[in-house]
């Protein structure tokens, strides 16, 4: 069985010796969980922080969200290279157009630029297109809080909330059930954090900490939630519990 190269964001090749289950025929769901959700006055975007190659976690505290404009953030999943390239080009266009218009760009405009890059490059990668699965969210005075799901192939769909990445499969139901209109900022952050925590507890390609970016009229506010601050899911233990005696070193001897 040929070994296909692993994209660093966690899309894993299948070999005889490997204990992974993903095969070539499945779409390249990447090792991540990204979530975005609107609330009354802004948007909360969240992501896990795990990047894995094979079974190894190569980066346990990565930042999967990129700022595109003063009021717009992009969550990235899929090919790391493709999303990075798209973000770079979008930021360039945002700067140019911002200068020409002398005013910040609307969230939808920024999302459209990203989407067009996806759409107009369908012939890349021998017809597979750019493997860029992005969620773009932000707040502007024109349309308020917005979330756009910009999947590979050039689809841009405006929704109230969305999720993507390999861990998203486990939380569609949870988010369907838990979403309400006009949440407060705290409720929305708790909702997004709970969703990502659930996804991380079931998906082995997602894990680590939860990063949140809250975008509102004041701008972008970042938050870094460590595992000790997340409540354990069913079957898990709270992280600080230690059994038996505690070594004087606090656990780390080296």
């Amino acid at each position: 069985t040929p070994l296909r190269s692993t994209c660093a964001q966690g899309y894993v090749a299948y070999t005889r010796a490997s204990l992974q289950m993903e095969t070539f025929d499945e779409p390249p769901k990447t090792g991540t969980t990204i979530v975005a959700c609107v609330y009354d006055g802004g948007v909360v975007l969240g992501a896990d922080t795990r990047v894995s190659t094979g079974i190894y976690v190569s980066n346990r505290a990565s930042d999967k969200m990129t700022v595109l404009a003063d009021s717009t953030v992009m969550c990235r999943s899929g090919s790391a290279a493709d999303t990075e390239a798209v973000a770079k080009i979008v930021r360039y266009h945002v700067e140019q157009i911002g200068m020409e218009r002398d005013s910040p760009l609307d969230v939808k405009t920024v999302a459209q630029i990203s989407n067009q890059i996806n759409y107009q490059n369908k012939s890349a990668n021998h017809g597979a297109g750019l493997g860029a699965y992005m969620i773009i969210g932000g707040w502007d005075s024109n349309k308020g809080s917005q979330v756009y799901s910009c999947t590979a192939g050039g689809n841009m769909i405006s929704t109230r909330w969305t999720t993507d990445g390999s861990g998203s499969t486990y939380i569609w139901g949870f988010m369907d059930d838990g979403f309400r209109e006009n949440m407060t900022r705290e409720e929305c952050e708790a909702f997004v954090t709970a969703a990502i925590t659930l996804a991380m507890s079931t998906d082995s390609s997602s894990g680590g900490c939860v990063r949140l970016n809250t975008v509102n009229a004041e701008g972008i506010h970042r938050k870094f939630v460590k595992p000790g601050e997340l409540s354990p899911a069913y079957g898990e233990l709270a992280m600080t519990a230690r059994h038996g005696h505690v070594g004087a070193s606090g656990g780390m001897v080296l």
Binding site: Q20, A61, D63, K88, D203, H243, L254
Partner: protein, 293 residues
């Protein structure tokens, strides 16, 4: 005429095979069944396989229909760590069984007690380990029925499992596990590993799976055979912490099992370790390189 008869239909109903306590189930030792041995006299592949009567049948049905039973694992456990210390030996593992990349079963016992002197842990396919435990339980039951006060020692169990794994590998039907066997008997502290192709060895510290890459270098730095139990426990927890931060199919919920001379094996209640996430560079890693991750 001259055409081999079609192979008998393979039954789907599981059949019981006799269990040889030396070399495992379904394997016929030489000299026991002359009719069975005769088919191998010419050192060529038999065209019609003769089942051994009353001594169990081998796993392969017919060489005429090549067997490709080498499987893929479905529900798997990740790494197991083991180390000796002064007066005993301990094994540690997490309690997760993954279903591919899904962390599906979070309260699985991956380390089990075999008898009063031995414990065993596994990595790999859960069903194959359950089957191995069935074999070991049969051996323990036989021991009990003989009622002579003698039990299998850890070394004997390790040797037996090596034969089982190797014989299965020869039939292209492996038990998809790496097993860590540990125990103390008559002052001899034992810690060994058997892999799915029958590779086996003993050492002062053992890991199966991912722990080989992460934990064993840490063991080599700090381990000594006469560590106190407390130091050994601290070292073990450090290694578990290192593993769980870097192994994606591991969860932060562990059990440690230990065996000491004259005492019954103990398996601890599940516990978690404190992992470190508050490094300064973790807060804003892409500050100077937007678009990076």
């Amino acid at each position: 005429r001259g055409v081999a008869a079609p192979p008998p239909a393979r039954t789907m109903i599981p059949t019981r095979v006799t269990h040889n306590p030396i070399i495992g189930p379904g394997v016929v030792p030489m000299g026991v069944d002359p009719a069975y041995d005769a088919q191998y006299a010419k050192h060529g592949a038999p065209t019609r396989h003769v089942a051994s009567h009353g001594n169990g049948r081998p796993f392969v049905v017919e060489p005429a229909t090549p067997n490709t039973n080498t499987q893929m694992p479905y529900v798997t456990g990740t790494t197991v760590l083991g180390m000796k210390y002064k007066g005993g030996v301990m094994i540690a593992c997490d309690t997760l069984a993954s279903y591919g990349s899904t962390k599906r079963y979070k309260s699985i016992d991956r380390v089990k007690v075999v008898n009063s002197t031995t414990i065993i842990g596994f990595t790999g396919e859960l069903s194959d380990f359950d089957y191995t435990m069935t074999l070991l339980n049969e051996l323990s039951t036989t021991d009990f029925c003989e009622d002579d006060g003698k039990e299998l020692s850890p070394m004997e169990i390790h040797s037996y499992l090596t034969r089982v794994m190797y014989n299965r590998r020869n039939k292209f039907d492996p038990l998809w596990n790496s097993l860590v066997v540990a125990g103390v008997k008559n002052g001899r502290i034992f810690l060994g590993m058997v892999g799915m192709i029958g590779q086996h060895y003993e050492d002062s510290h053992i890991a199966a799976g991912f722990g080989n890459h992460v934990a064993r270098p840490l063991f080599r730095e700090k381990h000594s055979d006469d560590m106190s139990e407390e130091d050994a426990r601290t070292l073990m927890e450090s290694c578990l912490k290192a593993c769980v931060m870097r192994d994606k199919s591991m969860m932060n919920k562990f059990q440690i099992a230990k065996v000491e001379e004259g005492k019954a094996p103990e398996i601890s209640e599940p516990f978690s370790v404190a992992t470190e996430w508050n490094l300064r560079s973790y807060h804003n890693p892409t500050e100077f390189a937007p678009g990076c991750w």
